[in-house]
Each structure stands twice: as structure tokens, then as C-alpha cells.
């Protein structure tokens, strides 16, 4: 242990920044007790965090922060708790090391929540990108940890450091479990660092998502403005770069062209008002558009500016995901029946967002055909809503242990 401390001290000199917690908390974390999943004190902590976020006026500027506050309300977390049995025979695994991605600002908060809700102590590495909502959330959380939830301090350390195999190796060597967000490359690189022998490693690899819209049900829906807002939240809110943001839209039903015209004109209005795009994003989209043009039989659909890019594909395959670059880049294709989505249901497919269809029918198509992909089927507007079951895994079960008698 003394040796570990010496290693850590020398690492600190290499600029690990503790944005929450401290070096001594890290050092002692392995000696801390673990708790039962969804313990009352954990639920109270999140309820207090939720309330603090919502009563901080600045929070309103960040819709993702507000969404997190609603997500971590006790009332909402109880839904997850109530779906589980025998929690009183379970305990957290111990120490979890989280590597959060840099493209979705508040992903780290959900990852930390999983760790705490499963009953663990946590070290979270977050990106050094200066997200304002991250700074605000940390400020609010640290205040709670200094005051009413002082005892929780020993459970949470949040760090920032430039990539460094030694530091990652050190934190990993302490961990009973590791959550690697950030895609295939990151997973490959982080996995060169060993966990403890009992360590459980979960890598959230590169995924893509699709949407299915029933044109006729869309056309008769009375509040298309809301639907546009839902779709906007699913996509543009994170520059369409979250794994769960749909990049391919399947249109089903009779009046497809009428529905598309209406759908995109509603979205255009919203995007023009709210979305800002940068030069690198438009250049990236232009490049990907030409790449799609060279590989697929397709047609570009004219839009009023570069905020929305639409390409209509006549035939689709799973490789199309490699060309989806986010920032408002949409591949569209017409289908007559649900089985036509199967070509994209590879391991890469995570979420199916739908409107005007029956979730059970979509699920049945996936199950009956035994395809490798699709772990979530959610209503339009809920693409980014985090669930304790993610990428097909129950993360609470994964990061806790069961005691049998």
C-alpha cells in the first residue's frame, strides 16, 4: 500500500486534477465499505442533488443538466429499484473506475450514478473539455459533499488528466470494476491496463442508432411541433454524436412524401432557431455526403442550409453507419415492412427510436429474426434517456454481487 501511495504521489505531480474528492480519498477508497444497491442514503443523496440543480437558476441554461436532475430524482430512481428483486441480499462490488467520454458532457454523471446506485465507491476520469454544465454540476455536487452528505465524500473522486498509461494503470489496478465509455479505440487502449483479478470490465463500444416513423400516423398527429422538439432532443442536442442518436430514418406507411415534407419543414424551423454549426462540422458533412454518393445509389435532398443534410438511400446495408458523422446528417430510406430494417441490425445498432408504431411489433421483428443488434426500443424523444440497463446489460447487477443463503 505504501508503494501505491508513492506511485500515486509521483503521478499527482504529472497533473492529475481532482475536481471532486482528493488524493487521500483515492488512497483510502479500497478500505471503504460498500452498500446495498439503491440504499436509502444513496437515493436521498441523488434527490438532494436533483433539488439543488433545479433550484440553481443557472441550470436552466443547460437542458441536459435539467434532464439529469429529473432523471436522478428519488421518485424516478425508485422505478429502477422497484423493478429489482432481492436487493437486500446484494452489495456493491467495491471500487469502480469510470472513463467517461468527451463528446457527451454529462455522460459521466450517469456513469457515476450507476456506480453509486449499485453500491460502489468511484473514481471517474472526465474529459478536460471545459463544458460549462459539467463545471456547474461539480460545483453543486461538491457543495452537497461538503455539507449534508459529508459521509459520501469517501465514495466519489472525479479526476482530469491528459492521457497517461501509468495513471490509468494505477487506477485500474485498484478497481473491482471498470466502465469504459468512448468507443472501440479507447476500449482497446484502456484494456492494456489490468484490473484486479476479480475485476469486471464493461466497454461501451461504438454504436449507432436508427429511427422508424410511420408516415400516416405522423400526418394525423396533432402536435407536430412537439414531435420536432422530441426529434431535435434525440439528435441535435448532442450534435447527433451520442450512440443513441438516430442517424438513419426509416419511413413506413402510405403517404411518405407528404409526411417527410412536413416533418423536415417543422424541424428546419427549430434547427434554424436553435442549432449552431461550426466550419469543421459542415466540412465533415460535405465529405461524408460525397463518400456516400460514391458508394451508394442515392439522392441528395435539397435543404435550406447546411444545418440539415438529407440523403435518400435506395438500398441500405450495415456499413452505412461508417459514413454517419453526426451534426445533422440524416440517411433516409423508405420501407414497406419492418423486416426491411434487418440489414442494419448488426452489433453496431444500439437504439431504435420510433413514432407511430408499436414497440412490441418492432421487438418481435428483432427477436423472431435473432439478429445481433438492437438493445433498446424507445419512443421518439427518449433516445438519450439513460437506463440502468444499457447496451443490453443490467449495470446494477453487473456491478454488484449477490449473497446466497
Amino acid at each position: 500500500m505504501i508503494e501505491d501511495v508513492v506511485i500515486l504521489m509521483s503521478l499527482i505531480n504529472k497533473n492529475i486534477q481532482f475536481v471532486s474528492g482528493s488524493i487521500s480519498i483515492t488512497e483510502n477508497m479500497n478500505k471503504q465499505r460498500v452498500s446495498m444497491p439503491f440504499s436509502e442514503e444513496t437515493l436521498l443523496f441523488f434527490d438532494a442533488l436533483s433539488m439543488s440543480i433545479l433550484k440553481t437558476p443557472e441550470s436552466k441554461k443547460f437542458s441536459d443538466l435539467v434532464a439529469f436532475a429529473f432523471w436522478c430524482r428519488k421518485k424516478h430512481l425508485l422505478k429502477f429499484k422497484n423493478s429489482k428483486n432481492n436487493l437486500d441480499s446484494s452489495l456493491g462490488l467495491g471500487l469502480l473506475f469510470h472513463i467517461a467520454p468527451s463528446n457527451v458532457a454529462l455522460n459521466f454523471a450517469y456513469s457515476l450514478a450507476i456506480g453509486l446506485l449499485a453500491g460502489n465507491n468511484n473514481i471517474v476520469r472526465i474529459s478536460s473539455k471545459p463544458f460549462l454544465q459539467v463545471q456547474l454540476l461539480l460545483k453543486i455536487m461538491n457543495q452537497l459533499l461538503e455539507n449534508d452528505f459529508f459521509s459520501f465524500r469517501s465514495k466519489i473522486c472525479i479526476v482530469q488528466y491528459e492521457y497517461n498509461a501509468e495513471i490509468t494503470g494505477y487506477f485500474s489496478s485498484l478497481a473491482d470494476g471498470r466502465l469504459i465509455w468512448g468507443g472501440d479505440e479507447t476500449i482497446k487502449n484502456i484494456r492494456t491496463s489490468q484490473l484486479k483479478p476479480n475485476g469486471i470490465d464493461v466497454g461501451f463500444y461504438n454504436r449507432n442508432s436508427i429511427a422508424i416513423i410511420n408516415a400516416d400516423n405522423y400526418l394525423v398527429h396533432e402536435n407536430k411541433k412537439y414531435l420536432a422538439q422530441y426529434f431535435y432532443n434525440d439528435t441535435y442536442l448532442n450534435d447527433q454524436k451520442a450512440c443513441s442518436s438516430p442517424s438513419i430514418i426509416f419511413w413506413i406507411g402510405e403517404n411518405k412524401s407528404e409526411a417527410k415534407a412536413k416533418f423536415w419543414s417543422e424541424l428546419t424551423e427549430l434547427v434554424n432557431e436553435k442549432y449552431k454549426i461550426l466550419a469543421n462540422q459542415t466540412i465533415d458533412k460535405l465529405e461524408k455526403f460525397y463518400e456516400v454518393a460514391l458508394k451508394y445509389e442515392c439522392q441528395k435532398i435539397a435543404t435550406s442550409n447546411e444545418l440539415i443534410t438529407r440523403i435518400n438511400l435506395l438500398e441500405i446495408d450495415q456499413e452505412i453507419f461508417d459514413y454517419c458523422c453526426g451534426n445533422g446528417f440524416f440517411i433516409e430510406t423508405d420501407i414497406e415492412s419492418l423486416i426491411e430494417i434487418l440489414p442494419v441490425c448488426s452489433k453496431k445498432l444500439q437504439t431504435i427510436t420510433y413514432f407511430g408504431l408499436d414497440a412490441e411489433a418492432i421487438k418481435k421483428t428483432i427477436i423472431d429474426n435473432g439478429v445481433a443488434g438492437c438493445d433498446r426500443i424507445v419512443k421518439m424523444g427518449n433516445a438519450l434517456e439513460f437506463n440502468t440497463v444499457w447496451d443490453g446489460k443490467d449495470l446494477i447487477d453487473t456491478f454488484s454481487r449477490k449473497i446466497v443463503t
Partner: protein
């Protein structure tokens, strides 16, 4: 193929905007049609957007992102006519662009380069000190933009000398000998910006040597991106060199492997100029509409020279602003502009990009 011989007879900066637009209106649709007919990939890219081949307005000609040349062989000629493959000097780890030239296109680039540079200084009858190593141009199989530029420029000099040995150590005795031999004449210096800075200037400073280059003209280019880490500005570059070498005549140029030949040289007022062989359009990021004079946007470059490959209209990853048209104090006609930086390329793909691996 476009016949540009009538342009080759003209001075490189002699057309005002109205005249130039009239000529481009005539030539550009022909050039687009040429590539459309001779490059299947180019045809596909236009067909997908239902492009109307009769479009003749400069700003409405489609533009390809330069990065496409890293992934596709966009050539408008038969394979057996490939004479040379130019490669961009991409940063480490990245793919390089490949530009396919036939004999005519390579010769045309050479002629235009000479015409443009000649407008700034006597280039053909002067001795030339090349600020690079002779090694750079030896490997013709792996022809980089740097070797192309050096070779292009060095053809013009009467006598030439390479300033560095193969390890980029300044060959001071050779340089001094060369300077001594041509004392009293105007000597041309040519090199890449980062090499001039890192290997010439820095070595001189470190060794405490002051060279007398007061009679010389330096033409340098190849971008500022490699000097970004050192945060050297154009002004600082010039004043530092002047201090160490008494070099007064320093011309930066803007150009790229994808459009070799039709380069943009910096005039005495500090502005880059479009010659009659090429044009720039500054575009807004949001809708690719044209920026107003003085507004910073993405630089699109249009060149009449790109004939054996589809590089006639490209969207670069550089940011710039138009300073004016036809009225630069230096007297040159046409558009003049400045390069202000580079578009920050992010590689956020999917949920990747947690770590920036070196």
C-alpha cells in the same frame, strides 16, 4: 482539355474582376464537363445532387473537400497517361492526398508557377539557395508537395545550392561559399516555412551566427500549421529573420499539393493575390454562402490548371478573409486576401474520442 495558351501570354495579375469573371464563366463549365465526362466518381458525385452542367456562375460550381483526395483517386485521364503522382505533406499518421498528373498538366503547373513568381521577382536569371536538403527531391517515386515545389522553383535558378545536409544541419561552409560566389547579384532563397524557421533561423540563433542575406529574396510557403506549436506569427517570422540575416524581401505564399502551380503570393502590402489562373471564394460555415469582404470564412480555391484530376474547385480546411478586389496598393488586379487560420478538425466519431492518443 481546356486550352489555356491565351492566358499564358497574359500577365498573371492583369485581369480585373469583370474580365476575369467573363473568362471563368466561359471556361469553368467546360472544365466541370471535362471532369464529368472523364472521371466516373466525379460524375457520380454530381449526379447525386442532380447537378445542372450548364451552370456557369463561379460561386455555383460544386466544390469538393480536399480531404477526399486522401481516400479516392479522382483522376480524369486514363491510367496509362499518369505521369506523376503528387502527395501532400500530410501530418504524421494521417493519410496523404494523392494527385494524379499527366505530362501536360505537370508542364502547365510549371509554366504557371514561373509566371506567377516572375511577377514578384526576377526568378529565371538568379542563383538559388534552396533551404532544404538535396535528399528531399531525390525520391521521385514518393513525390511530395515539398519536393514538387522545390523542383519547380529550382528549375528557374541559374546556379543552385542546398542549404542543409541530410540531417538538416546547416551546411554553413557551402552556404557561405555560394553567397560569396554570387555577391552583388540578387539571390533567390526558397524553402518551406517551418524548415526556414526551425532549421535556418533556430540554428543561426543557437550558434550565434549572423548571415548577410540583405541582397536576397526569400519565398516561403507550405503553411503555418507546423509552426502553430511555436506560435510564430508572420510578422514575428519576418522581423526575427531580418534581425538575424538582414533579409528584407520575404514573400509568403499560399498553395497546396491539390493545386500545385497556381499559388497565391504575398505582395508588399502583406496580401495574398489570385492570379488569372485561379480564384478564391470565402464561404460561411453555416450555409456555404459567400462571405462579405472582411468576413472570415472557409477558403474555397478554384484553379483552371487542374485538368488531369478533379481538383479544379476545392473546399480547403483553411480560414481566410477577402481583403478587396482589384484595388490593392501593390497594383495587382483581382481578388486579394489573407489566411487567418485553420478549421479545427475534430475527430469525434460515435462515442469515441475519450482520449487523445499520441
Amino acid at each position: 482539355m481546356l486550352d489555356l495558351s491565351f492566358l499564358l501570354d497574359k500577365d498573371a495579375f492583369s485581369f480585373d474582376n469583370i474580365r476575369k469573371r467573363a473568362i471563368y464563366k466561359e471556361l469553368l463549365p467546360q472544365l466541370v464537363k471535362h471532369h464529368y465526362d472523364n472521371c466516373l466518381d466525379y460524375k457520380k458525385m454530381l449526379d447525386v445532387q442532380s447537378y445542372d452542367l450548364s451552370i456557369s456562375i463561379l460561386e455555383d460550381i460544386p466544390f469538393l473537400p480536399v480531404s477526399l483526395f486522401k481516400k479516392y483517386e479522382l483522376k480524369s485521364m486514363l491510367d496509362l497517361d499518369v505521369y506523376k503522382v503528387l502527395k501532400s505533406s500530410g501530418t504524421t499518421g494521417q493519410n496523404v492526398s494523392k494527385i494524379y498528373l499527366d505530362k501536360n498538366n505537370a508542364a502547365l503547373q510549371q509554366k504557371v508557377l514561373l509566371k506567377i513568381v516572375s511577377d514578384f521577382c526576377q526568378i529565371t536569371r538568379n542563383p538559388m539557395l534552396i533551404l532544404d536538403t538535396s535528399e528531399t527531391i531525390k525520391n521521385r517515386l514518393n513525390f511530395s508537395a515539398r519536393s514538387a515545389a522545390i523542383l519547380g522553383f529550382s528549375l528557374f535558378g541559374t546556379d543552385k545550392c542546398f542549404a542543409f545536409d541530410n540531417d538538416f544541419k546547416l551546411d554553413l561552409s557551402a552556404v557561405n561559399l555560394f553567397l560569396e560566389k554570387h555577391r552583388g547579384k540578387q539571390i533567390m532563397l526558397f524553402g518551406f516555412t517551418f524548415i526556414v524557421w526551425k532549421y535556418l533561423y533556430k540554428q543561426l540563433v543557437m550558434q550565434g551566427i549572423k548571415l548577410d542575406l540583405s541582397d536576397c529574396i526569400l519565398i516561403h510557403g507550405g503553411g503555418w500549421k507546423k509552426l502553430k506549436d511555436e506560435a510564430v506569427s508572420n510578422t514575428e517570422f519576418k522581423s526575427s529573420l531580418k534581425k538575424q540575416t538582414s533579409l528584407k524581401n520575404i514573400y509568403d505564399y499560399y498553395g497546396m499539393a491539390e493545386q500545385t502551380g497556381s499559388i497565391y503570393l504575398e505582395c508588399s502590402e502583406g496580401h495574398l493575390h489570385c492570379s488569372i489562373f485561379s480564384e478564391i471564394i470565402i464561404r460561411n460555415a453555416t450555409d456555404f454562402s459567400e462571405c462579405n469582404i472582411g468576413e472570415i470564412g472557409i477558403v474555397q480555391v478554384v484553379s483552371l490548371l487542374a485538368q488531369s484530376y478533379c481538383g479544379h474547385s476545392l473546399l480547403t480546411e483553411d480560414l481566410g478573409k477577402l481583403i478587396g478586389i482589384d484595388d490593392c496598393k501593390c497594383g495587382r488586379k483581382g481578388k486579394y486576401f489573407n489566411i487567418t487560420g485553420r478549421v479545427e478538425k475534430s475527430d469525434d466519431r460515435g462515442c469515441s474520442d475519450t482520449y487523445e492518443f499520441n
